[in-house]
């Protein structure tokens, strides 16, 4: 699965979706009505990745998200419980997170698979796994894979400094690619991942970088560095914690690193792991 384009959109939580609509106008003339912040975040990231290119009509869209729509869900609950009125129809429809990949597909005229996927703490990795499952037998030959999460509404228990939308454009064809998703592998626990690392060097020492997801503790990162002998690619401190931080790190590597490889290790709260290997080709 070869990577042909990458996009990043990370910003302080938009108080008004109009801000995002203005950003989106820089990438497409298509007018979008009755869309909310979550959908706009997805559209900004996807269109920024595509940048006006025409995709194959059978291309697929895999949108990964930790929490899906938050703002409109909160609005609908407010309409129901506080205002005691029926929800606004499009507010209700837009509580469903798959409206976001729908609008991405509609605006780019891509009619292949269209999925909204999650995996607690590992959503982006799960999306990559499922996309590879479709790519390997040739069921899908071109796709957009994105990670989108809006910051929780104000007044909630959690406050995040930023929210984001990060996308990669992948094809089965290598010509013109800037990189490759070479491996996506799940492990039941730390021991199984360590055994895999020791079977054979995942990447030759000194010939790549190591990055760890937000849930990997500091002392464990040191251990993975020792085991792999790889230099560290650290992206976690850039913005602090936010839900799409893994996709931020991956796209940052692809946008900014010289020709090299990346081993990305992440875990969730239950101690299940996913390892990614990405190659960044020279320009």
């Amino acid at each position: 699965m070869f990577i042909h384009a990458v996009s990043q959109f990370v910003a302080p939580p938009a108080a008004n979706p109009r801000t995002l609509k203005e950003v989106l106008k820089g990438y497409t003339d298509t007018p979008f009505r009755r869309v909310n912040k979550f959908i706009l975040l997805a559209l900004v990231g996807a269109h920024r990745c595509v940048r006006g290119r025409t995709l194959n009509g059978n291309a697929s869209v895999y949108l990964t998200t930790e929490n899906g729509n938050l703002g409109d869900t909160n609005n609908v609950l407010d309409q129901l419980y506080r205002q005691h009125s029926l929800p606004m129809p499009f507010s209700f429809i837009n509580t469903m997170s798959n409206t976001a990949p729908f609008y991405v597909a509609q605006s780019l005229n891509v009619l292949g698979r269209n999925l909204s996927i999650s995996g607690l703490g590992l959503s982006f990795e799960r999306g990559l796994e499922l996309a590879r499952l479709d790519f390997d037998p040739g069921s899908v030959e071109e796709a957009l894979i994105g990670a989108v999460d809006e910051a929780p509404p104000e007044g909630g228990a959690v406050h995040l400094a930023v929210e984001g939308s990060f996308w990669i454009h992948v094809k089965k064809a290598r010509d013109g690619a800037l990189g490759e998703v070479a491996e996506v592998r799940s492990f039941p626990d730390r021991e199984a991942l360590a055994a895999w690392c020791e079977e054979e060097p995942v990447l030759p020492p000194g010939r790549g970088l190591l990055a760890c997801g937000a849930a990997v503790p500091h002392e464990e990162r040191t251990d993975w560095q020792r085991r792999t002998g790889l230099a560290v690619f650290d992206y976690g401190a850039d913005y602090g914690p936010f839900d799409t931080v893994t996709a931020y790190g991956i796209t940052k590597f692809l946008e900014t690193s010289p020709s090299t490889s990346l081993l990305h290790i992440n875990r969730n709260g239950q101690g299940r792991y996913v390892a990614l290997i990405l190659h960044r080709y020279g320009s």
């Binding site: 930790e66 899906g68 869900t73 129901l80 029926l86 929800p87 129809p89 509404p153 909630g156 626990d189």
Partner: protein, 388 residues
Amino acid sequence: MRNRAMIKGRAIACALGEDLDAVVRGAREMRPGIARLPLTLAGMDEVRPYYLLSRRGPESLSAAPETFFYEVLFDTVERALADASLRTADLRDLAIFFGSTAIDIPVYEHAYGQTLRETSRPASMVSSGYGRIADEVAGRFGIRGPAYTFTTACTSSANALLYAAAMIAAGRIPRALVIGYDLFSHLGFYGFESLRLIATDGYRPFDRRRSGIIMGEGCGAVVLEADDGGDAGAVLCGGANRVDAYNVTTHALEGGAIAQVMWDALEDADVEAGAVTAIKAHGTGSENNDRMEGNGMVRVFGDALPPFTVLKPLIGHTVGASGVVELILFTACLQRGFCPPTLGFEEADEALSLRPVTEPRPLSRGIFLLNFFGFGGNCTALVVAVRG
């Protein structure tokens, strides 16, 4: 025909009951249990029909929804795992594929309402993470395989089935637990009412007088493994997913994308259209859905449309759970010797000229097409072989 994954174990909770024999008996005898729920939260002095879980007590919609939510889920999963006779070591490798429309809304909307009673300005209540429910299942049963959550509206658990079977066939996992789960939520109930989609006078998919959907609760769990090549059981042969970009709330009436996903599914399963024994239609009972699905079926099968049926009048539209719940109900009925009927259908719609199965029809084996469609233009079709 490709045989990707067989159903090794299954369990269901729906309006017809939880014991599979009782559920099938309810389907054969066509006796659904429909509650009528008030719309008081929105200040309306009206009621709407709803297929609640058979285990619901009179107070259960308002009392401790989180406890009820996980009781139903864990109990259904436990029964499916027992039905599959999995050993503890097998559980460790199990991968989880979870599909739902509402996810944990039934839990946190209750918390929202409760907080509102205690303070004039309630804290924002948000999902605890779409992937959390699958992780709760993993934690409860000692499952260490990967967990994938699908939120594609009414196709959610159908897509979970599609990917679980594909992953088994590719040799990436030995077995999968696939769950479809949607409980009553105020957000969903009042949301569908806001769209004027709820039928008030009976559930009649494909009937001339159809007037909309009736929602239902459902939890279904299946354990899938690689096909053992035996001469019994139900096997997922293939399927497909694609998007109809016509509109976020409805599909194009001519049924082009609907037809294409059925063709894609048949091709994926390596099955000719003429080999299909019967179809389980999605059949929401809305004016547009039945018309576009009817048009799509005619595009694929022409004058040779196989018998088709709709299960929703028996158990309600279980939205994101319908993929797994309807798969279990449909295959269980076939394995007991009949194709379940489309309850409520009486008069054909002249614009469609289609007549579903209306009485239990003797049928125990064959190749079946199962359709699922949802908001966001999502289209999924599955091909299932039942070997008696």
